[in-house]
């Protein structure tokens, strides 16, 4: 293979135009009932079959030497808790640890013998047979930036701070390797709070894979009355104008596509078709439309950002999206945050009173996550969909008391702790109702089954049918393994 592909885009070979543009456009001044799609289909190319995904696949596999990906319809819902879920207030309780470690909450039993969770998660106790908890993942990056990059990319970041990726995030790699869904649904979606929706806020950057592999961003609180997804659906009057515009474009955009042997012109046409699908397809619009759900279902998930984002994720994977990232930060962006609570899970004492924050945040978390898990199982999607809940790191096992910036009073908190964290996995056809790994008596570091974030990603890739030994070329043309090390967590391999 040459060290670098000379053409970064699509090779012309795959975009051979069958001829010149259609001349069957009889009455060009009055388009009549011609579909929008056909306005954008110029020449022999049609996006209907979406050869595009096949092409991307071809390129992705080019470097591996052997194709071992399995074509399937599996998907992942990746729930990200920025700031770090406190493992000792959730899934790794240490009731016997000294008081300055264990905190104030008690563990409670679940429907699976041996699995206990925090008392703030009562709904979890009924479905412990539908999730597995990994207590032994760790890494070495204690700053949010480094930890985000470490977790999101499955690589050791070049710098320990900052959230601009130097290697692509897994959500982009999945998009690149799996290609298009073929029905207008974006392959990779990330749902985040508005104002936090920049590609680099949570190290979602596609780095050398290029902007084309960024996830489709859904910004805003889906529980808000005025929630609207950018780039999905257009207003009625705009739709009419778009029709006019497309009809004119069809008539005026007559440059021969075969002038451009790089295939970029053809690719632009095909993306225009796809974009119009996203903008106007009823199926796509519906997938993003939570009002299609019953009030009961919406209530069960919870009328807050966590719950409605969870419901959105379920609708998206049903419609064909393969990788949904949900960022759960502020559960209720429309309301003021209590002064002793934090925007997200970064529960230092200066940010919040960790126990008060848990009391405020956890019930919503409990409600949203269990609703999603139950719903996935009830709909028989538990083989198809794998839910993963993770965060940048755990929190210091030892409680630290300081004056809160907002509350202005001394209050307990926990700091960054990458040596230990808890990760929850549900569905994906994996064996559930189990605890994997263990931390020591004070919750400080794993003592059993020490795992890295990469083992988690290897498990995820395996579920998606992606060979995690795949190589993709970076800008220098060097083949980069999509996951440089790590292997699937055995206990989660069905």
């Amino acid at each position: 293979m040459p060290l670098t592909r000379s053409r970064p885009g699509f090779s012309g070979k795959f975009w051979q135009n069958n001829g010149v543009m259609s001349t069957s456009f009889v009455n060009r001044f009055c388009p009549g009932p011609v579909s929008r799609r056909s306005f954008l289909q110029i020449g022999g190319f049609s996006a209907a079959g979406l050869g595009l995904s096949d092409l991307l696949r071809y390129e992705a596999f080019g470097a591996t030497g052997g194709e071992t990906h399995v074509k399937n319809d599996k998907s992942v819902i990746f729930i990200w808790l920025p700031g770090g879920m406190p493992h000792m207030e959730t899934y790794d309780m240490k009731p016997d640890a000294p008081a300055e470690y264990r905190g104030i909450f008690a563990p409670v039993r679940t429907n699976v013998k041996g699995i206990e969770v925090c008392e703030l998660l009562p709904m979890h106790t009924k479905i412990a047979d539908k999730f597995a908890i990994v207590r032994s993942i760790q890494h070495e990056f204690a700053d949010h930036g480094g930890a985000h990059k470490r977790m999101m990319t499955g690589r050791l970041p070049k710098t320990p701070t900052g959230t601009v990726n130097d290697a692509p995030a897994v959500s982009s790699i999945v998009k690149r390797v799996l290609g298009n869904t073929g029905n207008g649904m974006p392959t990779s979606v990330a749902a985040v709070d508005r104002g936090r929706h920049g590609i680099d806020t949570f190290a979602f950057g596609p780095a050398w894979l290029g902007a084309s592999q960024s996830p489709f961003i859904v910004a805003g609180d889906p529980s808000a009355a005025d929630f609207k997804v950018d780039n999905i659906g257009v207003k009625q009057e705009m739709e009419t104008r778009l029709d006019d515009r497309l009809a004119m474009l069809h008539g005026m955009d007559r440059l021969r596509r075969d002038l451009d042997k790089s295939g970029v012109m053809e690719a632009m046409d095909s993306f225009n078709v796809q974009a119009m699908d996203m903008l106007t397809s009823a199926q796509v619009r519906d997938a993003f439309d939570l009002s299609k759900e019953s009030e009961e279902v919406r209530d069960r998930y919870g009328r807050h950002a966590y719950g409605q984002r969870g419901l959105l994720a379920r609708r998206l994977v049903e419609a064909g999206t393969r990788f949904v990232t949900l960022v759960w930060e502020n559960p209720e962006p429309g309301k003021p945050i209590p002064s002793n609570c934090a925007y997200n899970w970064d529960s230092h004492a200066v940010n919040c009173h960790i126990f008060e924050d848990c009391k405020w945040r956890m019930p919503r978390y409990d409600q949203a996550l269990t609703a999603l898990i139950e719903d996935i199982y009830a709909r028989g999607l538990d083989e198809k969909v794998m839910i993963v809940v993770a965060s940048d790191f755990g929190h210091t096992p030892k409680i630290n008391t300081q004056r809160g910036n907002q509350s202005k009073v001394m209050q307990p908190g926990r700091d960054h702790w990458p040596k230990a964290m808890s990760v929850l996995v549900s569905g994906g056809g994996a064996p559930m109702g189990q605890i994997i790994g263990a931390t020591n008596a004070k919750g400080e570091e794993p003592v059993e089954r020490i795992l890295s974030p990469n083992d988690l990603w290897a498990t995820v890739y395996r579920h998606l049918g992606i060979d995690y030994n795949t190589y993709l070329k970076n800008l220098e043309g060097l083949p980069m393994q999509i996951l440089p090390f790590g292997k699937p967590i055995e206990e989660l391999v069905s």
Binding site: T64, I199, S212, M238, M248, V264, M265, A275, P479
Partner: protein, 829 residues
Amino acid sequence: MRLTLFAGVLFASTLPGSLSAAPLTVRTHAGTGSIDLAGGDDRRQVLVMEGEHRDRTREVRFSLAPEGIARIDSTGWIEPLSDGNTVLTVTPPEAGATPLAVPVTVKNAKAIRRLSFPNDIVPVFTRQHCNAGACHAKAAGQNGFRLSLLGYEPDNDYDQIVSHSRGRRVSPSAPESSLLLMKASGEIPHEGGARLGKGTEDYRLIQRWIAEGLVFRPDKDPKVTRIEVFPRRLVTTPGSAQQLQVAAWFDDGTVRDITRTAQYEANEPERSKPSETGLVQFSKDPGGTAVVVRFQEHIDTFTVRIPLGGQVGELPAPVNFIDEHIHRQLTEMGIPASGGIDDGEFLRRATLDVAGRLPTLEETKSFLAESNPDKRAKAIDRLLASTGYADYFAGKWAGILRNKVDGGTEWVTRDSHAFHAWIRTSLNENKPFDQFASELVLAGGKSIDNPAVSWYRVVQDNKERMENLAQVFLGIRMQCAQCHHHPYEQWSQHDYFAFTAFFSTLQKKGVPKLPEEDIYFHNRKPAQMEHPGTKEVLKPRLLGAAAPLDIPATQDPRTELAAWMRAKENPYFAKVLVNRYWKHFFGRGLVEPEDDIRPTNPATHPELLDELAASFVESGFDLKQLVRTITNSRTYQRSSNLLDGNAADEQHYARFYPKRLPAEVLLDSVNDVTGSVNSFSRQPQAVRAIALPNERGTIESEFLTMFGRPAMDTACECERTGEANLGQSLHLLNSETIQTKLTAGSGRAALLAKATDRSDEDRVSELYLRALSREPDANELGMALAHLKKKRDLSAADPAKLSKEQAEKEAFEDLVWVLVNTKEFMFNR
């Protein structure tokens, strides 16, 4: 470059009465005449060529008489059997053709040499891709078995096979049950599949080596000094194939045929497909390409050209040497050239390429009206003198010189502005390029006094400094050689670290909390770098130089580096620059990628590249003169329209290849057509996107990110991508940003809608001139007028729903939308 090898070929035998167009020659690596096999391991690829360019090896019939001395298969692979003399008869398939007779002698057939691990076994791993970066040469190996990349460290590989895994990998007493062979042949599960079939030559070789007792190097095992492929250059027909012949020269004076042990790699797999045995199948498309042949760390390159063989017709008189070279090759390749462009097309193309913007309405009108025959050359001069030129090219250089703020302080931001201004000023006053590069390399002191020192602020690691310098100014990608011998080049780790040593005395004296006071200086000590493998301390050595330099501690070693770089005879410096600029104007480099110039990646027009580089040196490294030379050529001013005969051309400039407008140019052009301006933080209001100094603009602007403006993370132009993506479509078709530009009260659509004193035709024409530098044709005008009428009719039918004014405005908005969404707008064609 050596003389073409065809010169040494003698005819094996005369063939009177042959039906062939040219005489056949029978050849092995040792030449023509007789075939002398010495020793039981002396195998050869026999090649039967008709003339110089047609391979007939697989069409002729081979036979040997008497039998029992040697054997040959249908692919021309000959092996010794026993000592003696025999005759190889080569029978052409044509009826009545006279066969050729070649004497064959075999000596010492019983003498089998002991196999050598580096010379015989490692090449098998390379051929079979066992030691590819994706397999066992991964940093962690594969499944516990790790080989060095492409076998560059045979000692390590030997150790892995013989000593690791408790010796289970090889079993001399029962070679077939060695894990190495069982895995490789797929007898037991192997993730990489069955690579070596039992009984294949490669399998038997490894089997024999194991049985011989796992010798690393037998006594007097020679080392390879060079390899050579035959033929090296070929001109052939589309869809044909060529058997290659590869020989290795050893330091004991011996030569071996390594056709079946070398590795073949196509530079462009869609153009040629080499087989494991060196048979290269060419695609049906005309053009040129290359196959890299590799054996151990040695490489050679086979290049092929496949003419289209069409009617070229008359070519216009050349304006300068560019046209002469291009026309000569078009003639040789038989590809007809498209015609020249008209004035409107020229003005749009040149303005976009030289000044990074669309021509203004006024410029277009006056240029079209001008009758001076020199007007194109004059326009180029005007553009070169304009600020647009300096802005546009400063942006290009700021990108590859990585003028990054990277979330830095206010001071870093100011610093990046100063660096950008330094680049821009240098270009504007047309500072000789060698001086520019030299000032950059020698930069020292405080950034506040010398903005060029910013380069060292952004690129802090000495290895990375060297890599960036090599890629940007020499067109050499040294990155690979940091860890192992470069797979496509002569460069070794030794070269890498000895070249890095030029930066080893560069130090920064930091002032806490006053970063603007940081001083970069030459720390007076001898320059040196340690080789991480051998721990040898290396003195600075220039690339390609035999010996290191002795630089006294008092002298900054960078002065030697800069002097060497800008010397007229430097073989890299001018070449990569002119190639980089060529690509800017033509969309592809004479060497592609433009900053990866190496013997294994041959130029499409080597003589043109040489002459362009020489003329650049001759001009005193005058960048504006280079732009003039390129843009005044007929080649640059050729139409992009297809002719029947040149549709398939992708590398001979038979027509102009349309290029996408780069992100910044597209954004500025959308602004110019919609009548809006940019607003970026820390920049003057209405700043043009091409004038943005650092990567901040990309981060701030979704548009620039989406359309591929680089984040300045690498010194590679490839970081800028012209790829299409969904986000771009969504953006142009329906984004808030575009909608705002279209509907602005002071925007183009609003202004045109209000200009009711002008005719519809006149207003539509203005839009076309602004966006496409041409008048609309009758169809386009008809559609535009029909749309205006449709909107007016809608308004007339229900003025309460759509007012007359609003209808006019919307109609023009729609027209502007359509124009910026046409490919003609988004491309420079």
